[in-house]
Structure formats: structure tokens, C-alpha cells
Amino acid sequence: MTQHNRAKSDAFVPSGQIQFGVFFQGVNSGTIWKAAESGSQTDFESFRRIAQTAERGLFAAFFLGEGLRLREHLGRPHALDVVGRPDAQTMLAALASLTKNIGLVATQNTTYNDPADLAHRLASLDLISGGRAAWNIVTTDNAWTGANFRRGGYLDHADRYKHAEAFVETAKRIWDSWETPAGPAHRVLHEGQHYTVDVTPRLPRSAQYRPVLFQAGDSPEGRNFAARQADVIFSAHPKFDDAVEFRKDLVERSLTAGRGANAVQIMPASEFILAPTAAEAAEKKEWVRSLQIGPQQAVAYLEQFWGRELQSYDPDGPLPEIDPVVEETSETRGSGFHGAKARQLADQWRAEAKDKGLSIRQFVTSKTARIDATFTGSYIAVADQLAEYARVGAVDGFNISPWLIPTGLDDIVNHLVPELQERGVYPTEYRGNTLRDHLGLETPVRTADTAAEVVTA
């Protein structure tokens, strides 16, 4: 009831609560694979262990990424970081059989999926899991990724959110198409610039009506898209002041979009390095960083931006004096290479590293995005810190990327969660049976709009 009133309100009301999600990363440099305790990245057992630990810790959601093309480095698959990830929805359907409450969130791209097929598969996951499915909406537009798909690279960068929004609207109409749980189903027709969908949906609504929508994307277009369409935004703003600013921005955008000030929840990506004392946590952080950014990773990171081989450079020496290759080739796309901006970036980085007296390795460690998203400290200190986020409503929760698989959530669940519960800012039981229940989201209402048969965009 409280949640219902919050969502309708024009004034933002903090929930006073923190929720956790876990993001089992596939392709990434943050997950340590070199330690003795590092498990498999693809065995089902690792997924089971993480999901069941998260559920024991009353996490709201378990996230998986989507892989559409294997990341390449200088024209070949990248050798140094964790590579390879199973299909998100297939893994989540399997995990649905071993869990009862945790939400199951599949990252799925709007560009290289067909709307009717994706909407059907998400509805299917939602039914099989008893109303626990969610879609983390992402967009891509490059032809490099498109090389694995029939459609190829058909979408202009400028159109990707326009396309994504039409895609999501179509999916919503498909999920809304059954008048009642018993039917009848209404035909959904969408005639768009890039595709046409003409389908009579096969599946009824789930226990949570339809999959929860997460959105990951930080540009102004991405934020507006989230404000109009999403239930939760998977933000890149975990630092306190930044998180507060982001909340203000999103509240304004939600009101502009005609939704309540509390309509969209915020869960920044984060990493936790915890120990009984601050000193032990700081020591652990050094160890974690040294395994995340080894000497080879540091040089390879620069190679992505330089667009050339830099193996002769000493990772403990200064940044390369040699200039980047500025030509943007199709092979380097998808690996973070910045094309024509490379030269400018290299000059800027060399100056910055020189000013601060940083080696390649130290510099790359300082540049890695996850640094900003890390909470390091004693269980008690971090719990106090998170309670402050909850008090002002800076975020609704955190989406945790464990740096160790499969035991990376253990200290969070065993030590941090009880501290948060003691402070009254973390759930002590699942609120209901569906992901929508856990997050306190309103159940959507079937509108005349969504029931309209033909929509042209």
C-alpha cells in the first residue's frame, strides 16, 4: 500500500530500503580467474551456487548478460579476461527450477532480437518461474555485432533508442494482449521502419502481469527512455553525491514523462570488498586489484585504445610514447576503441599519468570503471554507508558484480546483509512471490492503448 502511494506521488519519497541484485558477469575483466578459489565461468554449478546464495541473502534479482559477438582485441578474440557466457534466458529457465523467490533478469538486446520472439520467450520465462522474470533492455547498433545475424548492421546509431522504444512498446502490447487470464488474445500488429510484427500472442499474463523492465543506458536518450518505459534503471552512478544527482535527474524526467516521481527505481552497478576491519579490507582490495589488472591486462587495456600491439612496453614503466593508430576498423569495434578520438585521448592520458607519476599498470588500475563502483571497508562501516543511501533515497538498491565466482557473495550474505537488517534498511523476508512484489512495484493496468490492434511507427 505504501509502495502504491509512493509511485503515484508527484513528490519523491525515499523507500528507506536497500535491495540487492547480483550480476553474474560473463565477458569481463573484473572477475578474478587466477586465484586458487576461482571456479568455472560456464559450469552450471557456478550459476547454481551464486543464485542460491543470493536467494539465501534475500536478493531481489539475479542478472545475466547477453553475448552477441565475442569481444576481439586486435582482430582476434581477447585472450586475457574472462570470455564466454551461456545464453541468459536458457540459464535462467534452468535456475528457475532451483530457486523459489529470486527475480531472474535477462539482458537482451533490442537490435538483434525479433520483438515477437523475444516477447514470447520472456513471457515464457515469466510463466515458468511463476512471475519472476525481468528484461534488462540494452541497445546495440554496430555492424560488427550484426555480422552474426541475418539482419546484419541495419540500424543507425541515432535511431537506436527510437527503435528500442518501438520494440518495447510492441513487447508490452504482446504481454497485454490477453484480455483476461483465460483469454481471448488480441492480435498485435506493428508496422515499423525496421520491421513488421503481426502476431496473435500465445501466452497469458503471468503472476506478476508481465516481466519487470530494467534499463541500462546512461545517455540523455537512455535516461528519457527509462523514464518513459522502465521499472528500474541499472545505473552507473553508485557514488553518494553522484547518486543523489542522478536521482534528482531521473525524478524530473519521470515527471516529465507523466509518471510518478517514484515510478523508476535505481540500482547502480557495484562491487563490494569487505572484511571484519578497515585495514583488512584495504589489504584485500590491493589483492583484488592486482589480480584484476595484471601486467598483461594493463598493456592490453591500452592496446584497445592505441589500436596497435604494445607488448614491448614495460607495464611498470610510463605510458607508450608511440601514437595510436587512429583509423577505426571494423575489427576493433566492440572492444572499446575510440576511433578518431584515440590520438587526443592518448595525449591526455600521457599527460595525466606523467603528472601523477603513474606507471602503465597504476594508470590502468585508476582508469578502470569499476573503481568508482566499489564499496570497501568493514562490514559495519559499509552497512552504515549504505544506510545513509537508504535514508535519503539516493538509490533503491545495488546490483553487485562479484569479483569471485562462485563464492563472491558469501561475505555479503553472511555479514553485510545481517548488519543492514539490524539497521532496518534491508528486507528480512521476501515480500511476496513475484519480482514485482519484492521490488514493491505496481501491477500494470491493461489500457485501451495497449489493446489497440494496429500501431504504426
Binding site: L80, V83, A93, S97, D117, G152, T196, T200
Partner: protein, 363 residues
Amino acid sequence: MSTSSPRQAGFLAIELDGAGWAGADIARAVLAAESAGFHAATFTDAPVPGRANALQRAAFAGPVSRTIALVPEVDTVYTEPFHVSTQLASLDYVAGGRAGWIATAAESPEAAAAVGRSSVAGAALGQEAAASIEVSRRLWDSWEDDAVIRDVATGRYIDVDKLHHVDFETPAGFAGAGYSVKGPSIIPRPLQGQLPVLVPAFLLGVVSPDAVDGVLVSAPAAELLTAEIRDVRARVGASVAVVAELDVVLDARGQAAAGRVAGIDSGRAVYAGSAAGLTDFLTELLKEADGVRLHPASLAVDLEELGRLVLPELRRRGALRPVVQDGTLRDLLGLQRPVSRYATATAAHAAAAPPALESKGKP
């Protein structure tokens, strides 16, 4: 009985579509089929109301079962081959190597309209299926088995020489819109190396027997099945499993099968009658076919009778292969685990070509 057969004893699959979409019902059905002694469970993917995704139902069944193979139907015409390949490879991971694929080619105007494509029919269906199967097979091979090396000394998680672009192009004369798939896969090689692929017999001719591990044989009436099986056997040879399709309605719970058979019109052969009669029929059929897929009229009613009366007697007669604990679907079909098609090429390449980029890196 079995001594008169030139083949080893056969296997039985059961279609679990009737279980519905709720997780608890899927788990109950697959466990009932497993404990009844079925070798495989299949999941259909027809575009009818109330049908949840077949591959997801199979995935849900993976962690809750132990020995039964899990074989979804997945369409090859209107679904992206790259997605199909990675979803099936993932299914093999969650099913512990018990996954297979019934590659279907839907002649379905509805499926075409749903994804905004023009309808595919006739021989073009076979071409689409053949292309999709080839894409999946190449992607499954695109990571060699030992591609993940986790070599701490050199900092290499994978050996890039053991990952391969598949560079698939639809062949000249492809009836539909041609396409290409670059690869490699985004997931390491499936546990079985290659999932067993089964196709309905109507696709043979365009889809080569070399590309498949099994063929599903249909006839419109039970007495015509043997002739169909022999015909297909002659075309595919002994190395491809021939599986007969049969609808089953049994006398059960005091009600005669004849009273329940009305309304069944799948186009497949139907057996309606007593459990003892079905046991005799299957005993004869399994002398011709490697396996039979049963489509129970009512999963709840007929599965119970099959498990209680039919399978125990077939086992006693030696008509069924043993169920192997922790076996793979390839094991069930008597298939070796294949080496990646790219593995030999790499060995030859390594001998002839200069050292790869990664080996030039500092230790």
C-alpha cells in the same frame, strides 16, 4: 526376442507438451517420465495458444532430472541461427550433456508474419533447416575443447588459436534471403561437443543424412509405420537413428481407449487400446526402428499406464536399451564425442604459420 533383431535394443522418448508451462508441472512430468524409464523427453514448439517456449521448458527440466535426455523442438526458419545455437549449447550445460535438438522447419504463415518475413514453403524449408543446422554445428565447434586454458603465468584465459571464426555463408541457389554468420560462438563448446540433431523425415533430401543424427518418421496409420521406417532406413543408412512417431491412447482407469480417442487428429499413427497390445506393437516396432517417440493423448493418464504396465514388460523382453546413469544423449544413441572440425586445421596451421600474436607477449 531381441536375438532375432540385427540391431541393439531400442529407446523410448515421450513428448511432454501436455505438462503445461508451470514449473512445478514440468518438473513433475519429467520426473515421472524418468522414473518410468523413458530414455528421452521431447518438448514441442507448435505456435498454438498456451505453449511456452520448448527450449526453456527443457532447460527448466535439466537440473531436476538425472538420466533422461531433454530434446526440444526448435524452429530453423524464423529464428536466428546464432541464438538457436547458443541456446542449445546452453541447454547442454544445464542438462549435463543430455540435450538434443529436433530441428523443425515450420511451414507457418503465422510464424513468418510474427517476425515480418515472407512465408517459406516447399524445398526452401529444407534449405533453411540445412543452413541453420550447419551454422549451429560450426558454432559448437568454434571453440575447441581445451580453448579455456586459464594460464596464470602468461595471463591468458583462453588460447586464441583454439577459437575460430565460422564464416558461414548461405550457399549459392539458396531460395530465401541469403545471410552470413561470422562467429565464433559466445559460449565454449557444448559438453557433448555436438548436440545430437534430429529432423522430421520430410526434410531429408535437402538436409543431408550426414548433417543429422536421427530422423523422425511419421505415417498416417500404425500399420504403415514399418514400411516408412524401412524406406527412411534405406536412405540414411545404419549410422542415423530412425525414430517412429506414435500417438498413444490406452485403456485406463476403467475407461476404454476407444472412448478417449475421439478428437485426436495429429496426422500421426495412433495406437488405441490395451497396454498389453501396445507392448506387443512396440516390441515389433523396435525391431525396425532405433527408437519410438510416444505422444500420449493425456500425459497424466497415459504416462501412468506406460510406466506401470508397458515399459517394465518391454524391459523384461529385452526390447529396451538400459538407462545409463550420468550418460549423455550421444551415449544413448551410440555416438562418439566428435573432435572439433577446426582442431585439425589448427594443428596444420600451427606447423606452417608464424607464431600467433599472443605467443609474442612477454611471459
